[in-house]
């Protein structure tokens, strides 16, 4: 297993609060969200019909932070990647380790969280 390496992506100023921004990363389309206290990175593809999650609105379902797919309003939990409204047992969105350090957003080279787990 290769040593995980954090790669600087962009200044946090480039991610407006609660708005998605997209990124091509390791051959994938990624949606980055700045949630204020943290950033999250998920694959930019709704499990339902592949809507661009990056264009969704950050919202909440009973206190859980979600993004609402702009095409058919599926609400996806940004922590688990699961579609939680309407509740389904379908596939999850892949998510990737991300963090902010000294005002810079970092992603980890290597695998997605789902694969690493």
């Amino acid at each position: 297993m290769s040593n995980p390496q954090w790669v600087p992506i962009t200044a946090i100023e480039n991610l407006p609060l609660n708005e998605g921004r997209s990124l091509h990363w390791q051959g994938l389309d990624i949606a980055l969200f700045n949630l204020g206290a943290r950033v999250v990175a998920v694959e930019n593809k709704c499990p339902h019909q592949h809507g661009p999650l990056v264009d969704g609105m950050v919202s909440n379902v009973e206190g859980r932070v979600t993004v609402t797919c702009p095409l058919h309003t599926r609400r996806i939990c940004l922590d688990t990647g699961q579609i939680i409204k309407p509740a389904t047992a379908g596939p999850c969105v892949r998510s990737f380790p991300a963090k902010i350090e000294a005002g810079v957003v970092l992603l980890q080279k290597g695998r997605s969280e789902a694969e690493a787990a």
Binding site: P8, N14, H50, D55, M57, N60, P70
Partner: protein, 812 residues
């Protein structure tokens, strides 16, 4: 023979007691004397009448049919000025005499008029009766300078009412802080800040020396030498019991008429109830204890002497939206053996303080958020031991599921404090009367008809209990921010909230969702006429990139083509752009313009630049287009110049947002080639005049538009359309099309509020429209000043070099 019961005072206490007497077996012949000429009304809601929230008819408690149906003689407009206990008669100022067997005194109290120099000048009022409210309404308005003397409950409610009527209001308060009988210093300061943010000036430690002016009041002079301009003064310096009549009759009177626990006075056939009474040295100024008195007295007087009145825990709630205040019990924290639990959040304006002794609640103050007052009132009344709750005294554990919060309440829990309606009584009303709406509940139990603050709790109880629960028409926007849109408009305006996040933070769950955020975005825009804090994270993607997202994640581009009129040069540019960017589909739309479909997000700003045309707003809830027919320009039948008029209409309204999309059309004659009769707003030309029609639709349903008005000139036609347009913007519910809007309000009301309104009202609509228009601009100009990575994906910086995207290095 029937016994004659005379009641002096046709107010809340007297009539409530009579209602209770009617519930017992009795053989009284009842006569009620009242010196006000009105039937019994809800005095509490006078503040709402002054604020314009309620009409006079809305606050009637017992209409004249009630008196008739119950064989009660109502002698209204008669003032009793003498009681003769020896002969058992009462005498009115007008000279009539009535004999009684039993007498009930319910004369209430009067506003205290302190002996200030000039207090008799015209324009100086008190605030106690419906007539007072009417006088104040008649004199208040924009430009009027009003001064309210007294920063207690009554004074502040009067101040807010006057301010909502347009007055410039200053409150002068003698004490060190507002509502000093109900709040500590800190609480008073928090309240002061709230009121100031609503636009009311508050001056504490202000002692009034004189009212100046010749005849009519012109100013208020303070003892420190300052003088304030004033055209209108309301003195709210407290109340004093109307007990003089009883005193001269020889009854035992202290400050109020002395009554015992059965509400008996010192004379065996005379009883008293309400604010005119004094019990154990206690005087009264709120209805809750008065209802208790009324129930006890009804038992006593009908021969069922037994229930006793035991006094009460004072509890006060300020009825000003956006300035919540609740206070109950003894809040003094300097006493021995009491503990104080406090929360202060100056940013949100929330202050909470609990006074405990031996783990029991003795007093509570809530400012800025009084939503859980019921819990505290319950603890206070029942002396609940709070040992187990110490960890979450101020923030209760969230209810586990819907309905659980009300399920947790005991049946004896008082839901409506004003009218003393318990949870059990509400459940019984549901079961025995099939109550399933709030309106029916009000009718059957009186719950929520007092100050109205328990309406939310009643709703959730109904929802949990009533099998056929029907949601009221006024629906809350969303669970994230549980207010109706009307309330939200008022909150946004009065609390001066200019951004979606602020509204969510203060009145919602802090996050919001795709349902409420676009609606709030619309509301802050309209309320502040474009002078709001635009928050793109609260907008749907279409409004973040000014294009319509398609099912494959690409976008469509529809440039504006006013009136459907174009030029060869413009068409050439569109053709070039379509080729340059490999646009997969070019389509002439139903809206007389051209759509470029399947465009990549990152190409959007470049396409706009190459086109050099304005955004057609084909992606948003806003002004779509004005379709036109050829009209008199070329058409053989044309009577009016549809093209010029349509282009001008589009120019005046474009770039603005509306509750839902708005489509317009102008046609040159009634043949209606551009289908103006099925548009949100249509102008139909005829010989020498224009018809303006509104509320049309040709979507899933077809609705023929209603005639708004017929006018002669083109300028008048454009004005009528603008009036309706702005009226819809200000009063439409977000996502309500005009065809639902006109049906909800009714065309009579729409006409009355727009084309038939006074000049001042019309000018107001046009001015606000103009202000919004001045601040609006073509959304596509954002290409010159894009936000970071608004359109293109982030490029990972090579070698870890990270740049902040700015105007200069933006990818445009």
């Amino acid at each position: 023979m029937k016994q004659r019961l005379a009641v002096i005072g046709n107010g809340m206490a007297g009539v409530f007691t009579v209602e209770q007497i009617l519930k017992h077996n009795h053989d009284f012949e009842i006569t009620i004397f009242g010196d006000e000429t009105h039937v019994n009304y809800n005095r509490i809601l006078l503040s709402s009448v002054l604020a314009g929230e309620k009409e006079v008819d809305d606050i009637v408690l017992n209409d004249i049919d009630w008196y008739r149906a119950n064989d009660i003689q109502a002698r209204l407009g008669l003032r009793i000025d003498k009681i003769d206990l020896a002969n058992k008669t009462i005498h009115s100022a007008q000279g009539c005499t009535t004999t009684f067997d039993k007498l009930l005194i319910a004369t209430g109290s009067s506003a205290f008029r302190p002996p200030i120099d000039g207090i008799d000048k015209q324009g100086v009022f008190v605030f106690r009766t419906l007539d007072d409210a009417k006088h104040l309404l008649a004199l208040s308005g924009t430009g009027v300078k009003a001064v309210v003397i007294g920063g207690g409950l009554l004074g502040l409610e009067a101040a807010r009412g006057l301010q909502l009527q347009g007055c410039e209001v200053t409150v002068l308060h003698l004490g060190t802080h507002l509502m000093d009988r109900q709040l500590d210093f800190t609480g008073g300061q928090f309240l002061k800040r709230k009121l100031e943010s609503l636009g009311i000036t508050v001056i504490c430690k202000a002692s009034t020396m004189a009212f100046t002016g010749a005849g009519h009041v012109e100013g208020v002079r303070l003892t420190d030498g300052r003088t304030l301009d004033a055209n209108l003064v309301v003195v709210a310096a407290g109340i004093k019991p109307n007990s003089g009549l009883a005193r001269s009759a020889g009854l035992d009177v202290n400050k109020g008429i002395v009554v015992n626990e059965y509400l008996e006075t010192s004379h065996p056939d005379v009883f008293a109830v309400g604010e005119c009474t004094e019990f154990n040295g206690q005087l009264f100024g709120l209805v809750a204890p008065i209802w208790e008195q009324g129930k006890v007295l009804a038992a006593t007087i009908t021969g069922n002497r037994g229930p006793v009145f035991t006094g009460y825990t004072p509890a006060t709630k300020l009825k000003i939206m956006g300035a919540d205040v609740f206070s109950a019990g003894d809040f003094d924290d300097q006493r021995d053996g009491v503990e104080c639990v406090r929360l202060e959040d100056p940013a949100l304006g929330i202050y909470k303080k609990l006074i405990l002794r031996d783990n029991k609640l003795e007093g509570v103050i809530l400012v800025g958020d009084a939503s859980d007052d019921h819990r505290f009132m319950d603890w206070l009344r029942n002396g609940t031991d709070l040992t187990d709750q110490r960890r979450h005294l101020l923030s209760p554990a969230a209810a586990a599921g819907p309905g659980e919060d009300t399920a947790a309440l005991p049946d004896t829990h008082t839901i409506c404090g004003c009218n003393g309606v318990s949870k059990g009584a509400i459940i019984e009303a549901v079961h025995t009367h099939g109550v399933c709406t709030l309106a029916q509940l009000k009718d059957k139990t009186r719950a929520a008809t007092g100050c109205g603050s328990c309406a939310g709790l009643c709703q959730s109880l109904l929802k949990a209990v009533a099998p056929d629960y029907a949601e009221e028409k006024a629906k809350v926007l969303c669970e994230c921010v549980a207010f109706t849109q009307d309330q939200l408009r008022e909150i946004i305006r009065s609390q001066k909230l200019k951004g979606v996040q602020e509204v969510l933070d203060i009145y919602g769950n802090g996050i919001g969702c795709e349902v409420c955020k676009p609606a709030l975005s619309y509301l802050v825009d309209v309320v502040w006429q474009g002078d709001h804090n635009e928050d793109r994270s609260a907008r749907f993607i279409n409004d973040r990139v000014h294009a319509n997202i398609q099912k494959d994640g690409t976008f469509s581009v529809i440039p504006r083509m006013r009136g459907g009129v174009t030029t060869p040069a413009e068409l050439r540019k569109i053709a070039d752009v379509a080729e340059k960017y490999n646009v997969p589909l070019v389509k002439v739309t139903g809206s007389q313009r051209i759509d470029l479909l399947g465009v990549k997000k990152q190409d959007l700003p470049h396409i706009w630049e190459d086109l050099g045309m304005r955004s057609g707003q084909g992606y948003t809830k806003g002004v779509r287009m004005v379709k036109t027919c050829v009209g008199s320009t070329f058409c053989r039948f044309g009577t009016q110049d549809a093209i010029t008029t349509g282009v001008e209409l589009e120019r005046r309204l474009e770039d603005l947002f509306t509750p839902h999309k708005t489509k317009l059309a102008v046609v040159g004659c009634p043949r209606n080639c551009a289908e103006a009769t099925v548009k949100d707003i249509g102008l139909i030309g005829q010989e020498g005049s224009w018809q303006i029609v509104v509320g049309g639709a040709a979507g899933k349903g077809v609705r023929k538009a209603d005639l708004l008005i017929t006018v002669e000139s083109t300028e008048e036609a454009l004005e009528a359309a603008s009036l309706f347009f702005q009226y819809y913007r200000e009063n439409g519910v977000y996502l309500e099309r005009t065809y639902d809007f006109v049906e909800r309000l009714g065309m009579e009301k729409v006409r009355r509020d727009t084309v038939y309104a006074t000049d001042a009202v019309k000018q107001g609509l046009l001015d606000r429209l103009q202000r919004s228009k001045d601040r609006a601009s073509d959304a596509w100009l954002e290409r010159h000043n894009p936000r970071p990575f608004q359109f293109a994906p982030i490029e990972v910086a090579p070698n870890g070099l990270v740049q902040i995207e700015t105007e200069e290095n933006a990818h445009v």
